[in-house]
Amino acid sequence: MSKVTDGPLNTSLLSVKAETKNLSFHYGSFNALKGINMPLYEKKVTALIGPSGCGKSTYLRCFNRMHDLYPGNRYDGEIRLYPDNTNLLHAHVDPIEVRMRISMVFQKPNPFPKSIYENVAYGLRVRGERKTSIVDEKVEQALRNAALWDEVKHRLKDLAFNLSGGQQQRLCIARALATEPEILLFDEPTSALDPIATASIEELIADLKGKLTILIVTHNMQQAARVSDYTAYMYLGELIEFDATDTIFIKPKNKATEDYITGRFG
């Protein structure tokens, strides 16, 4: 546990779940992230905002080593995960193990072309869970946590594709929650959804606050203000400002941040 001593919301002891130390990233020769140092507080929602191309999704995808799937990418620096103080980016750390601990929800809902039940159960099957009773229980729990249980409990064997966009995204969230991750990453989860579906997802994230460490990338500033405890403003691969959401949106310390927030830029 580390004590943070400036800004509101932190006279209490805040526990750091993860932090990036001088994190840099290259897509081939393009330097997408430049020495980012940022904490991720436990059981808090941290939002990443910034104009298109500032590196927020790139930053997010470092946490679950998604960049490993494509050739030509290079990480520099560290991401330390607590309490075991593992460097997630270390060459000897298995990306599969990282992904077993950290889940992700993507921008466009991407359920598998299987039944609703099988979608949520997949993460459990990957982790070797065979007992049907346990899988049933965890699937129900995850669907309840994703506020989807009542809508689908009578049709768990239906194809996931038959759900609406908002329901599919909640299914993807349930799928990510079923494995009880230490950190849940959201990559612009509502940008492909209509306003009503967006509101239901935001409500869901607000419900998860305090139970789970969440890092959410969003291009929607109002969403960041509504949903998060901490906000980070990024621009051109650098972290410009990181602080409690209230501070960022009411009295940002950096002029660049203020310009972005007020819409003078971006």
Binding site: N110, F112, P113, R125
Partner: protein, 307 residues
């Protein structure tokens, strides 16, 4: 828009639509030619051969007397050869395609392999026959058997299976793969749990197209020594005594439908030509059934997938 501009726009649209019509007409004519040719062939064969189709035609062995000649050894031979072809081509073809798509690094070496796979599809089938003669019949010692024939045809249709599988795998959006990886699946886990099941429709289509081609291939089978007159069947795969399963049929002499037809057409008696036509109808029916099965399976599997 004022009146003259409007009129000009209407004239322009009318001219463009004329081209629409012309192309549609040309398309229908081409389609008609193809359909008519096929129908004419089938009808011609049916007129010749349909009267000859009777239960004993299917259960008789070939004979010197046309009225007693049947296709029993031929259609059983074809079925058994197709079984071996499928059993060899499907695992090898699918595995090769999965490796090339999911595992192989993208470098010059794999690029050369990929180009050559498509080249293989253009190799004349008699060349495959010669290869099989040297490799399967003599070098491996399988002899002039169903096993050699099946393996030869498997080699023949391998490019078709590989290309169809690759296309099917490529059509799976990367978002689905990322979802699987993000849940902690390994590459093989993602391949086995997601990539293969979702590309099954495309894979099966490719397999059956390949088999439909293989069923009519005569040149390579003649080269490896299928006999033209066989009056006995290969030993049955299922026996009454332990171990109940026999593989003797793999090494038995055999014949296939196209060869039987060829044999009959080269005889002078007109009655044998009628037999050949009847056999042709049966072969056509076998091919069309396989295609229909492919379409049905693809339809069923595609219902679950929407992207």
């Amino acid at each position: 828009m004022d009146q003259t501009a409007l009129q000009q726009t209407r004239d322009l649209i009318r001219r463009h639509k004329r081209w629409d019509l012309i192309f549609a007409a040309v398309g229908v004519v081409c389609l008609g030619i193809a359909a008519l040719t096929f129908t004419a062939l089938v009808i011609d064969m049916a007129i010749d051969g349909a009267p000859r189709l009777s239960p004993d035609f299917f259960t008789n062995f070939p004979s010197r007397r046309p009225a007693q000649a049947g296709i029993l050894s031929a259609w059983i031979g074809t079925t058994l050869v197709m079984l071996v072809t499928a059993a060899a081509a499907i695992p090898v073809g699918v595995a090769a395609a999965v490796y090339l798509e999911e595992y192989a690094p993208k470098n010059l070496f794999t690029a050369i392999i990929e180009i050559n796979i498509t080249n293989l599809a253009g190799v004349p089938s008699i060349v495959y026959g010669l290869l099989a003669l040297g490799l399967f019949v003599y070098a491996f010692g399988f002899g002039q058997s169903i096993l050699s024939a099946g393996l030869t045809l498997a080699l023949l249709i391998l490019p078709v299976v590989i290309v169809a599988t690759r296309e099917a795998i490529r059509s799976i959006p990367s978002a689905i793969r990322e979802a699987a990886y993000a849940l902690g699946a390994t590459k093989w886990g993602t391949t086995w749990d997601h990539v293969l099941p979702y590309s099954m429709a495309g894979i099966l289509t490719g397999v059956i197209i390949g088999m439909a081609r293989a069923i009519g291939e005569t040149a390579p089978i003649i080269t490896i020594g299928a006999l033209t007159f066989i009056a006995f069947l290969p030993p049955a795969p299922i026996q009454t005594e332990f171990p109940f399963l026999s593989f003797e049929w793999l090494t038995a002499p055999f014949t296939v439908m196209p060869i039987q037809m060829f044999n009959w057409t080269s005889r002078p008696e007109a009655a044998f030509h009628q037999n050949a036509a009847a056999a042709g109808l049966v072969l056509l029916f076998m091919t069309l059934s396989m295609n229909a099965l492919a379409i049905y399976i693809r339809f069923q599997l595609r219902k679950r997938i929407k992207w």
